[in-house]
């Protein structure tokens, strides 16, 4: 009998805890729902349809932005931008994603958003193939579907937002590296986050073709070297590279932790003047390396603006409008729309250097 009571209490306490979590969450979305009344009014048709799935909540409507994962500086910055846009434009913004870059968990998040009856869902898919069915379902429910940061299946989305043109970005990094090296001949190595990351590979290929076409005397010493998206791995591999190729002049590091590790190795060996490092990194992270020249330039886009643009275009889409080539988006700048009419490029890459890195807070 005692045991029965004990297990009953455990179950009840567990249930209370669980419901505690749930009600907090829905209360949260309800709050933000009130703030974004204007966004959902114009498209009440959609939200009604979605709301029927949920029990009498007044949440929903507005733009849902789903990052690959929450809790890394990059996606935190885009969250700031997305929420700013929500305030500025008076639209309800739901920024939510899995805590790990996990495709299955992301699908669940999108399922939840569908039943919350959003007007627009913007996804940065971890795996384009695995979000396909759930995005189809969203479309059937009358929700506008778009991707941002990383492309999903092109046929499926109404709008696809890209931070930069991959080709331009890769070529730009290569140019910056040559500029930092101060010579058009020499040896460089390429570090990457992971060998299978599609966007990183696109950048590297673009950088390689830029070097081949315009700087034929630059030799790439080895195949691209994977660093597991970790700073300490990039650090160790760069140390090994410096030992193995003492005549190395430059390192091109793509994926955000890789330039930091490469710069750390250069810094420790005191090779700031001999070896140039250029890569894609966030400005606050790279500050200590930019200061003494161990990292020459960090090239990226502005993730805050990317979040802002996603919400702004999401709202447009919900109102039945499409962005035009050369259109000026407030707080973001002029955007480019590709020939297919639905691929939007936010703008040119942004350089973070010793001079401007401290102006940013991401």
């Amino acid at each position: 009998m005692k045991k029965l009571w004990l297990s009953l209490t455990v179950v009840i306490v567990g249930l209370i805890l669980l419901t505690g979590c749930v009600s907090e969450q829905s209360a949260g979305s309800g709050d933000s729902g009130e703030g974004g009344g204007t966004g959902s009014e114009e498209t009440s048709g959609n939200s009604e349809e979605g709301n029927s799935g949920e029990s009498g909540s007044d949440g929903g409507g507005g733009v849902a932005v789903v990052p690959k994962l929450v809790g890394i500086p990059y996606f935190n910055a885009s969250e700031t931008g997305a929420e700013q846009a929500g305030e500025d434009l008076g639209v309800n913004v739901e920024y939510t994603g899995p805590t790990e870059a996990d495709a299955a968990a992301q699908v669940k998040v999108i399922e939840d958003l569908i039943s919350q009856g959003m007007d627009t869902i913007a996804v940065a898919p971890n795996d384009p193939a695995s979000v396909e069915p759930v995005l189809k379902k969203a479309k059937e429910e009358g929700i506008n579907v778009m991707d941002w940061d990383t492309p999903a299946d092109k046929e499926l989305v109404d709008l696809s937002i890209k931070q930069v043109d991959d080709e331009e970005f890769g070529r730009h990094m290569a140019e910056k590296l040559v500029e930092a090296m101060g010579t058009e001949e020499g040896k460089i190595a390429i570090l990457t986050g992971g060998l299978s990351a599609a966007n990183l590979n696109l950048w590297i290929d673009a950088a390689k073709s830029e070097l081949e076409e315009n700087y034929p005397d630059i030799e790439i010493v080895s195949d691209k070297i994977p660093t597991e998206e970790k700073q300490q791995v990039a650090y160790q591999k760069t140390l090994d590279l410096l030992k193995s190729y003492p005549e190395l002049d430059g390192v091109l590091a793509v994926s955000t932790p890789a330039p930091l590790g490469a710069a750390q190795a250069v810094q420790e060996e005191g090779l700031q003047d001999e070896v140039s490092v250029v890569g894609s990194a966030l400005p606050t992270d790279s500050e200590p390396f930019l200061e003494d020249g161990s990292l020459d330039t960090a090239v990226l886009w502005n993730p805050e603006k990317l979040g802002y643009l996603t919400v702004a275009l999401g709202k447009m889409l919900a109102e039945g409008e499409m962005p035009e080539d050369g259109q000026e988006i407030e707080n973001v700048g002029e955007i480019t729309v590709k020939d297919d009419g639905k691929t939007v490029i936010m703008g040119p890459p942004q350089d973070y250097t010793k001079e401007n890195a401290s102006d940013f807070d991401f």
């Binding site: 500086p73 805590t99 060998l195 080895s222 070297i225």
Partner: protein
């Protein structure tokens, strides 16, 4: 020579030596003091964690929460840095507080495993998620760079005694200390006894719960030390920097001849396991092996090492009559 051949660490040692010989022919840089110091310093964190993991694996348990636990301590260190004054006292304080936090978190694992008797894999899978979830919640994944560190800590990370970085001394101290505990103390012998045969060891009066509690708390303690090593090695705190490291740690221990079913494992073996993984990583770039082949080569060497060890072990077992408590290190 016969004595050497009989040592169970011999198979790993042999492979380490063979790879080293090959690599030193391929790359003139490999066999330099500087390179070896880099290798050892770069793998101090994995090494320290692997030493703690050895004790757990000897008692036939496993701890998959080590990386998350270490990250939790690392993040705590970063938080403490905001309040600590810029003096040597801070470094001393860090060395007191970090292991303490580690012990607390580790003993939480230990408590669940020993008192409530939940299998360690379940417990640590749970705590892995709890720790990493909390870390993510508190830090929001934000990376902290060295501009926020006290200068005294940076000075500490750059100390070199006789040309050898301080982290290597720390690593050596941990290895020697744990080896001593395992070989010469009652609790260390109890760890081996429980791994050999839990039931008979309880019959001879070994306190099962106390030993389990000890191995998990000790793992926590070492995770605290590893967190200091990691912070000073990367001069930064990255909440995602150690993700997935537990697999490398477990692989190093198993490569070093420890038996997942318990009872077998030693500190020198684990050190060799760490070294084997480390020189393979290092050698791939030095030997200028094509990137896409690196994983294949790494995998192949691991399979060879483990099967060689297993065959050797089985051959030895056939010669022996069955003894519950096997001699270790």
């Amino acid at each position: 020579m016969k004595f050497l051949l009989k040592q169970k660490e011999f198979s790993v040692l042999a492979i380490v030596v063979i790879i080293s010989i090959i690599l030193s022919f391929v790359s003139p840089v490999f066999l330099t003091v500087e390179n070896w110091l880099d290798i050892i310093e770069g793998n101090a964190v994995i090494g320290i964690l692997a030493i703690g993991m050895t004790l757990i694996i000897i008692t036939s348990d496993i701890d998959v929460s080590v990386a998350a636990l270490t990250t939790a301590v690392t993040v705590s260190i970063g938080y403490l840095f905001q309040f600590l004054p810029d003096s040597w006292i801070s470094v001393v304080l860090i060395f007191l507080i970090a292991p303490l936090i580690g012990i607390l978190l580790g003993s939480f694992n230990g408590l669940l495993v020993s008192k409530i008797k939940i299998p360690a894999i379940v417990v640590t899978l749970g705590t892995l998620n709890i720790f990493s979830g909390l870390v993510l919640y508190i830090t929001n994944g934000n990376y902290i760079n060295s501009t926020n560190f006290p200068d005294s800590f940076m000075a500490f990370s750059n100390i070199e005694i006789a040309g050898i970085p301080i982290l290597i001394y720390l690593f050596a101290l941990v290895a020697a200390g744990t080896w001593f505990i395992l070989k010469y103390t009652l609790i260390g012998r109890s760890v081996l006894a429980i791994g050999g045969n839990a039931q008979s060891s309880v019959r001879v009066g070994i306190n099962f719960e106390k030993v389990k509690m000890f191995v998990f708390s000790y793992m926590g303690f070492l995770a605290g030390i590893a967190a200091i090593a990691q912070t000073s090695y990367t001069s930064a705190i990255d909440p995602n920097g150690l993700a997935g490291l537990e697999l490398t740690v477990i692989a190093a221990v198993v490569l070093g001849g420890a038996n997942i079913h318990g009872g077998r494992g030693s500190i020198p073996g684990t050190l060799l396991g760490v070294l084997l993984l480390a020189i393979m990583q290092n050698g791939m770039i030095l030997a200028r092996i094509d990137t896409f082949w690196q994983n294949v080569v790494t995998g192949a060497i691991i399979v060879i090492a483990v099967s060689y060890d297993e065959i050797n072990h089985r051959r030895n077992q056939e010669k022996l009559s069955n003894i519950d408590v096997k001699e270790a290190s």
